[in-house]
């Protein structure tokens, strides 16, 4: 049975092409995915991300629990409202999921985890939470709309109650706060995203989601589908769970080392394995590739290097760059001239540092 977000009928009325995404019936585009991509890079676009799973954690020992559960350090969150990106690892150091955690109170944290991994994540979190007496409460009554682009914040601010505007305007990156939206609807506004543009991700009670979507559309925010979301996040150098990493991959091999906090004396799940891997040196690395010739890099294509074969993880045509880019996992060491096997043809590609695009513009060297 495919699940539907509260905005499903709205997408269909807009003529969206709907696809199954992790068990959810979601819009992949509303016409041209490339135009939707450009709308986000140049102006403001919105995505229905209500399929994502919101989980609230309550209890006196919630912070201790998160010290144990997450590979990044919850102690980095010192101010209420601040958010942190982290991996949740298994005992073997494999990635169960990546998530965002919000610090909402001394005994209250909120997680946002992926839709496709919902059941497995909830089972894992609940199992680990027992020893800490932490209450794990899913919040399916929230819808979520991501508003992204250089003009996204201004357009959202215009819809907020005027007493909230200055405060939300000053909201720092990776921070969230409550605010009143159109008709006084209660919103949870976070300055986060998955596109490489500035903007907000807004949680809204499901019964107000359609009204918020319509108010945003009236303010000039263009609906954008999951297709554009994928090319935007790839250009921005952001990993996609299931494609760029999963349980079989160590965060070291998925360029997620920056999210691993080996802080003194913290016993998080997977830590021992991660430390051993770090000491031994990793055998595979994740790199960025650019194809300057015509063609498209895609998931699963074989990558040929001086040290052996690797494979394309996320790969796509990148609309901002007008050429194909990809993440690839290849053997560690100097790779020499890299080629990708595209339908039996060995095509030369360039190894680059990513992100490929930031704040609407190609990064240097792309």
């Amino acid at each position: 049975m495919t699940e539907k977000t509260v905005l499903n009928a709205t997408h269909r009325a807009l003529g969206a092409r709907m696809v199954d995404f992790g068990g959810w019936d979601m819009p992949i585009n509303y016409g041209s995915q490339i135009e939707e991509h450009h709308a986000v890079r140049r102006d403001a676009g919105m995505f229905d991300v209500s399929h994502m799973t919101v989980v609230d954690l309550h209890g006196a020992r919630t912070k201790d629990f998160l010290r144990h559960l997450l590979a990044n350090s919850i102690d980095k969150l010192k101010v209420q409202g601040k958010a942190l990106y982290s991996c949740m690892l298994d005992e073997h150091g494999g990635v169960i999921d990546d998530l965002i955690v919000y610090f909402l109170g001394d005994e209250f944290y909120r997680l946002v985890v992926n839709a496709a991994t919902r059941a497995k994540d909830l089972a894992w979190i609940e199992r680990q939470a027992k020893a800490f007496g932490v209450e794990v409460k899913e919040r399916p009554e929230f819808a979520m709309i991501a508003v992204q682009g250089p003009h996204a914040r201004a357009k959202v601010l215009g819809l907020l109650h005027e007493v909230d505007r200055p405060r939300i305007e000053k909201l720092g990156k990776f921070a969230a706060a409550a605010a009143q939206g159109p008709h006084g609807m209660p919103l949870f506004v976070a300055r986060t995203g998955y596109t490489g543009e500035d903007g907000f991700e807004i949680m809204v009670p499901a019964e107000h989601a359609v009204a918020l979507w319509e108010a945003l559309a009236a303010a000039g925010v263009k609906p954008a589908g999951l297709g554009a979301r994928d090319t935007l996040r790839l250009e921005a150098g952001m990993n996609l769970y299931g494609q760029d990493m999963d349980e079989s991959v160590s965060p070291w091999e998925a360029n997620l080392g920056w999210t691993i906090a080996l802080d003194e004396g913290r016993d998080f799940i997977g830590r021992k394995v991660l430390e051993a891997q770090k000491a031994a040196g990793v055998k595979r690395v994740m790199v960025g590739l650019v194809l300057d010739e015509k063609g498209v890099l895609r998931h699963g294509q074989k990558v040929l290097t001086a040290n052996g074969e690797g494979e394309i993880l996320s790969g796509s045509f990148a609309p901002t760059l007008d050429k194909a880019v990809a993440f690839a996992r290849i053997p560690a060491g100097e790779p020499g001239a890299i080629r990708v096997d595209i339908r039996g043809r060995e095509v030369p590609v360039r190894l680059v540092k990513y992100p490929f695009v930031r704040d609407g513009k190609p990064c240097e060297g792309i």
Binding site: R12, R17, M18, V19, G31, S32, V296
Partner: protein, 156 residues
């Protein structure tokens, strides 16, 4: 990640029933076209050559096209075998030739403007032109009505 337009049609769920500002309205299927089930069209021209493209339905299912791998002029193509590849942002798809013969021209415009197929699949977005070796193969293709029926059944 290699699939035919038919596969795309299968993996893609419902077709939008209402046209809107962003979606080009599905064009009428020209009556002089013949089709493969895999959504390629063939048009027998007055000079005996056969022009080949993909249907408007196929381009709509594939989404924005970003690259077309054209066959070489002078190469031989075989009915029902891959002759070209179109790539959208989403996926790469083999384009089968509806008839056997020799490629006598390709649509060079697609090198710079692959989106021409999205804009005019049955016209400016043609892909290659074949000198057929066996014109009887044309009779084995679906006519416009049969093809329309196929597409409708696929959508429901």
């Amino acid at each position: 990640m290699h699939s035919s337009p038919a596969d795309i049609a299968r993996i893609t769920a419902d077709n939008p029933t209402q046209p809107n500002d962003w979606t080009p309205i599905m064009s009428e299927i020209p009556g002089d076209l013949k089709f493969l089930k895999s959504h390629e069209w063939a048009r027998a021209e007055d000079d005996g050559l056969v022009r080949v493209g993909i249907s408007d339905h196929a381009q709509d299912q594939l989404g924005d096209l970003v690259y077309v791998e054209l066959p070489e002029v002078g190469s031989a193509v075989k009915a029902g075998s891959g002759a070209a590849v179109v790539e959208s942002v989403k996926a790469a798809s083999d384009i089968y030739s509806p008839v056997s013969g020799e490629v006598v021209a390709v649509n060079e415009l697609l090198n710079d403007k692959p989106e021409t197929i999205n804009e005019d699949a049955f016209g400016e977005g043609w892909i290659f032109l074949v000198r057929p070796s066996d014109r009887a193969e044309l009779d084995e293709l679906l006519d416009a009505n049969d093809y329309e029926e196929l597409v409708e059944n696929e959508d429901h």
